[in-house]
Symmetry: none
Amino acid sequence: MSPRVDVSEQRREQILTAAETAVADKGLDSLRMDEVADRTGLSKGTLYLYFKNKHDLSLALLERVLDQELDAVEGITATAPDAENALRAFVDRVVVDVERVIRVIPISYGFLSIAFRNRRVQQALKQYVRRYIDALVPILRAGIESGEFQPADPEEAAIAVASVVEGTMLLWMYDRTMIEPARHIRSGVEHLLHGLRRRRG
Amino acid sequence: MSPRVDVSEQRREQILTAAETAVADKGLDSLRMDEVADRTGLSKGTLYLYFKNKHDLSLALLERVLDQELDAVEGITATAPDAENALRAFVDRVVVDVERVIRVIPISYGFLSIAFRNRRVQQALKQYVRRYIDALVPILRAGIESGEFQPADPEEAAIAVASVVEGTMLLWMYDRTMIEPARHIRSGVEHLLHGLRRRRG
Amino acid sequence: MSPRVDVSEQRREQILTAAETAVADKGLDSLRMDEVADRTGLSKGTLYLYFKNKHDLSLALLERVLDQELDAVEGITATAPDAENALRAFVDRVVVDVERVIRVIPISYGFLSIAFRNRRVQQALKQYVRRYIDALVPILRAGIESGEFQPADPEEAAIAVASVVEGTMLLWMYDRTMIEPARHIRSGVEHLLHGLRRRRG
Amino acid sequence: MSPRVDVSEQRREQILTAAETAVADKGLDSLRMDEVADRTGLSKGTLYLYFKNKHDLSLALLERVLDQELDAVEGITATAPDAENALRAFVDRVVVDVERVIRVIPISYGFLSIAFRNRRVQQALKQYVRRYIDALVPILRAGIESGEFQPADPEEAAIAVASVVEGTMLLWMYDRTMIEPARHIRSGVEHLLHGLRRRRG
DNA sequence: GATGAATGAGAATTCATTCAT
DNA sequence: CATGAATGAATTCTCATTCAT
């Protein structure tokens, strides 16, 4: 809204974008400051004007990746008529940007191993799950409260859905030929839905 | 088959065990040949008698971790009376071993980002999923064929179960306070079971 | 001579004062243009309008420190009745601003190691000693010529006095608990005085 | 005495010697790890096997310089018949290796500015003064107790002597043409001696 | 087989200096 | 005059790998 956009913030984004591409191309452990500089067209020294050190840049990258991920997830406005369709809408949305996800998901995985030791990583990851689950709980609660779903703990159900989504993605990382993310996420969630659904008669 | 176990194989195991502990303590990216040598009590040069280079050692480590994981999973002899209880036995076994898993799981995650670029890593991970699913399929097929479960694709159902197990574990890595692996793996699988179960009447 | 002090000169002083504080706080080798800019409130570029480069700034700093030091020393108007008391007045004056000295003395010391290699530093330091000794020689010469002191070379005696003063200060830098500058400078000079004094009888 | 000399200690010495020469040639602030490596004929990496980092190497250098200095000072066995001649012997010895001193003294000076901030430097410098004074006190005490010198505090007198020696050296660093260390240290100490001496008659 | 001292290519980081605005 | 973002050469430091013993 301000007439002059903060150049500094643009630079950070520019650098993070370059870093993200570099990581997507070569892996987190092959990330080199030199290469980030090259890809931005900036000099190496400039990177250090915006990030204290390489570690700091990496963490900022993780945070940005998770944020974008959450933006996608939270942006799902369930305009669906019922919980079941809301959940399907959710899955559709997740499945739609599987392409983007595959580029950046390994970034998060690369950080899992330091999550125990680094509070900032820990915070970022925790917040991610928290918000992810928080996006799902209302849908499930609505279904349970309306009687569309069987009685259940909404958070546990949300965690089940999230684990199917994230777990399938993970299996897909393991084997990209065996797992088809769109299909298997859908079928997994359908199985859950089937279990959740109230039986008539 | 020789009565005398190859000393050389013992050495490899000794080294891999040291490396595994090192990675569990400090993360894959902080793995140093120096430290492996220290933890083994061997000299640095000796490591190179048993592994071509660091990369080779890391891959051997990944393979060993996945193998041990599979040994646990495949060792589950379903002596259960029906598919439902066989699945529960499976989950119980997985859950029992969560302590060990948490130590070594980040090792696999650390390799996910290389999987695209390294065929040997890719093979190891693929095989892991393949065998994991292969351990589940028979249980589900039996249930479906016996009419205990509703008609479904056994492999898809197996993938759903696997994704719940692995996905919950992943979420747990993200947030160890929010997720309780034993409880949430069980409740996730119960939701699936509920969906799979054939409705009577 | 212009009624209006040169703004430019004010800026230089402002910068040198900031630099002096920075050096006092963190040592000469930790002096950073960045920090001088910060402490001045000026921009880094501006520093280069007033000093050709960092080296130039450092030298100006040395010269200013030595000048201030000399101002203090030369400002001692010996209104004393005799040489002995003139010398005591000198010491009193030196001792009085030990607090200021301790802040800036390390600055000179930091330059000693460059003195061999840099003519300008050398000139500044030489001039300092020259004027320091020149401030003392008249006092000692007066004492010697009046018969108050024994026959001696006035310059050698002046150097002895200066070495006690500067040497005690140096020892004090080495160990601030063992040496008390005021007390030990005084006692050192008293020993010299005692030796200089003409014996009666 | 052990049949096999510790190579590791030799290497440290070798490195420190190279560093000392480098510092003597170009000043402490121009010390480069690269150059030390070149001068030793070792590789850069090797330096880091023996010293944690550059700072650590510098401190070891300071410690070695001060130790050698003290070895020289403490090695003065006063076989002199009286205190006065013992003191002269002391001065003679100091004066004799002025050549070596001039090479290494600026090293200590370079550290004075961080003495406030670094405990290890502080300890090294403190110990230096302590041992320096401790080498002088016995001579002066003997003279005072035997009645050769006038009543005085032996430590204060020792500090006076030390300040003349170190102070003259310092002035000499300031101006190498004006000060002749041998001559002016001698004349300074003679003035002190004259003051200390008991007057007859 | 085993050792561990030495290596050196490669990466991160620093900071005086410049220059377009 | 003043600015401060950008630079990049210079330096420190790391660590997998080798090899003489």
